[in-house]
Amino acid sequence: MRWTPCGPCAVLIEFPEHIGARARAIEEMLVVDPTVADFAIAFDKLLIEFVPGTPVDAAHWLRRLEALPISANIEPTTHEIPVVYDGPDLIEVAERHGLTREELIELHSTPVYEVALLGFAPGFPYLSGLDSRLHTPRRANPRPTVPAGAVAIGGSHAGIYSVPTPGGWNLIGMTNARLFDPQRREPDESAMFLLRPGDRVKFTPVP
């Protein structure tokens, strides 16, 4: 593990490989620590922001993180996401890769994906595990509005739009799952987010 400071009160820690299923154990460790103001996970990196005035002791945190077992007894949650494969870019993406519509759906709905990060918008997942036959560059001209629930491919990642936003990913379908819902507050406000870093996602085609 390596680390670099990020200004006066944060460190960016680089793991030797994707954080993946360890994310849940890291989360459990950090949310209860009164010196931690915030943290974020993306692929192999963990950012910890400390309460201003807290001495930044990176060595202490590296030791604690290294002591976490790989899976730390916390089984990642797997979410089944129903998808109607009718996105405006579905045929274009299929043709680009020399696939039929059915083959594309099959390739997209077979893997169990992992939430490598939530970012870009609240609750928007970058899902790793996309079949390399479906890797598709982002569109040259982003759409001014993409609806929440759009199931999309951006480069080597699958994703799901969580709020209506401009966006450049290729839209292949829609889900009625709400990735971010500010009205969902039970048992606590974290219920607004369907997914957490390290969770698993499986897409289920809806006829």
Binding site: A37, L117, P122
Partner: protein
């Protein structure tokens, strides 16, 4: 009690407080007042805690009608209202509080005694409309104020002169090394600190684009990584982008530096045309 009606929002108006922390792992940026120094001073002038919700106005064009007599304070950018920046006044019912012409800075804060009442989502009243949290204010909105927080308590009716900032004359903007600082070559690093910078018109609560020198970013082929507020990213076109309060929580461009949290409010108030320099933070 409803104290203010929005007549016009001008270039943009939202409710902000000091922002929300602790949700970055879900992709939620901090949001909050772009100039927390000014927002806190507006609150102090009317006896509120520093983090009470305030109105944040971009430059000019916003106008309000007072629905009930209260003390209001204005701080931050000077935009020509009947309450000058860094002052508080009791306004009577029917008064128009308009911000017709922004002369200094970018963001003006309006506080009311008792604080504006706004729904708290994820621990903050700050609107982040782009992310589906809260919304921009609209003409016709009627804004409510809470009860004065400590009735009878004398509020600070003045500020020290040094608290009243002149945004046309920013100090050196202090910058910490970014995570990829070591990967920029010496020429780039020296050029970054010797250049005279200003912000581009294409700047908003998400990010400020800087103009002044063209930077050469190292080709690192990075994955996206989590970013802190104030991160200075260098995209392939060489024009630095500073992550501001509604900026994404992850970014994939090399980051040469991170603006010090104490300098960021100054940077936030630099309007296009105001030149500033950057220097290493200690």
């Amino acid at each position: 009690m409803k104290v203010l009606e929005v007549r016009s929002v001008g270039l943009g108006a939202t409710v902000q407080d000091m922002g929300r922390g602790g949700w970055k792992r879900f992709g939620v940026p901090p949001s909050g007042a772009m100039d927390p120094h000014a927002a806190a001073r507006a609150n102090r002038l009317v006896g509120n805690p520093d983090d009470a919700p305030v109105l944040e106005l971009l430059m000019q064009g916003a106008a309000f009608r007072v629905l009930a007599p209260r003390r209001f304070a204005v701080a931050g950018a000077e935009a020509g209202a009947i309450i000058p920046a860094w002052q508080a006044r009791l306004l009577s019912r029917g008064t128009t509080l308009a911000f017709p012409r922004c002369m200094k800075g970018l963001w003006t804060y309006v506080a009311v005694e008792g604080g504006f009442v706004a729904e708290r989502i994820l621990g903050s009243a700050s609107a982040y409309p782009r992310g589906g949290i809260g919304r921009e204010l609209r003409a016709g909105d009627r804004l409510e104020a809470g009860h004065p927080i400590s009735p009878g308590r004398l509020s600070a009716s003045w500020l020290y002169p040094c608290e009243c900032r002149n945004y046309d004359d920013p100090p050196l903007i202090r910058v910490w090394p970014g995570p990829q600082w070591e990967q920029f070559d010496d020429m780039e690093r020296a050029g970054f600190f010797s250049a005279e910078w200003e912000i581009s018109n294409r700047s908003d609560r998400v990010g400020y684009r800087l103009e002044g020198a063209r930077m050469n970013a190292p080709a690192l082929g990075m994955c996206s990584e989590p970013v802190v507020m104030g991160s200075i990213q260098i995209p392939p076109n060489g024009q630095p982008i500073v992550t501001m309060r509604d900026g994404p929580t992850v970014g994939g461009y090399p980051k040469i530096g991170i603006v010090d949290p104490d300098s960021l409010p100054w940077l936030a108030q630099c309007r296009p045309g105001v030149k500033f320099r950057m220097a290493p933070a200690e």
